[in-house]
Amino acid sequence: MHEVGIASGILDAVRKETEARKPARAVKVGVRIGEMAGIDPQSLAFSFEVLVKGSDLEPLDLAIEPGVADELEFSYLELEVP
């Protein structure tokens, strides 16, 4: 139910993280999600796609990795240097 909020949180963090690494731009962000985190990965992927579309971060991919318990953490960021 709250995957849009989570997706928007991920985008905010990616924006902040890439700001410091200009002119590199983010192409992929990895997050770890545990089974007890209460997040539906499919729903998160869908929300993420919708929010990225037309935004300053497009194109940006989301990679979801299995996490431990209620983990909901960032894992990595893939950058492309123009």
């Binding site: 949180g9 007890m36 953490e73 960032f74 894992s75 893939e78 492309e80």
Partner: protein, 229 residues
């Protein structure tokens, strides 16, 4: 292409608001409990018996959430403590911003213990941090003993499982040992208490648990008394 490690929790807006609330509760020494269960498991009845047993000077307050009506606030206001209804108008859970709005005008310095009665739902409230010190899940004996397995999230995140309506045990095919074993499968450290708001059996134990847990929170130690081995 380069890959760089990225650290930190994925925080959404709710988590940020909840973190602010938690800091504020800590600053004023307010111990906050988030009560979660299916509709009809006895959250309001538990609060009625709890408030009823407190002396008039007790610095306790209640926020009670429902999709519609202020019926619960009306039930709980009779005991003379500050009570506010949060009507979510459709939302299936409370979120941190609703709590912030509902607290407006209350002086947290005057409150030691705040009960938040969530909207009856075992799924959605699990994901929304309200800045509470602990979540407590209620499971009534008129429900199934497999509920902890069907809704693992909330049993995993709750410190205490309260088995309610135990006066009805002779009349329902509820196996309390199986329910406890199921809860422990999901969350081995979960504490367990049983009570009946009708006969008041187990009520004193519950009241002692809350007091001890609140005390341990203010001493910044998470330990609370063990109820069931």
């Amino acid at each position: 292409m380069t890959r760089v490690p990225m650290e930190g929790k994925v925080l959404n807006e709710n988590d940020r608001a909840a973190a602010e609330l938690r800091a504020e509760f800590a600053r004023h020494g307010v111990f906050v409990v988030n009560l979660i269960s299916s509709p009809g498991s006895g959250k309001t009845a538990l609060l009625e018996r709890t408030l009823e047993s407190y002396p008039p000077g007790r610095r306790v307050a209640v926020l009670t959430g429902d999709i519609q009506t202020d019926a619960d606030a009306a039930r709980l206001a009779r005991y003379g403590f500050p009570v506010r209804q949060i009507t979510t108008a459709g939302a299936c859970h409370l979120d941190a911003r609703m709590i912030r709005r509902a607290l407006e005008g209350w002086s947290l310095a005057q409150i030691d213990l705040l009960f938040i009665e969530n909207v009856g739902n075992l799924v959605c409230p699990t994901s929304y941090d309200l800045g509470e010190a602990c979540k407590i899940v209620l499971l009534s004996v008129t429900e199934g003993e497999e509920k902890p397995l069907k809704y693992p999230g909330i049993f995993f995140k709750s410190e205490l499982m309260l088995l309610t309506k135990i006066d009805l045990l002779p009349y329902v095919p509820f196996n309390i040992d199986v329910a406890i074993a199921n809860a422990r499968t999901i969350h081995p450290e979960i504490q367990i208490a049983r009570l009946s708001c009708t006969t008041k059996e187990g009520l004193d134990e519950w009241l002692r648990w809350i007091d001890a847990r609140a005390l341990s929170a203010t001493k910044a130690s998470p330990a609370a008394p063990e109820l069931v081995r």
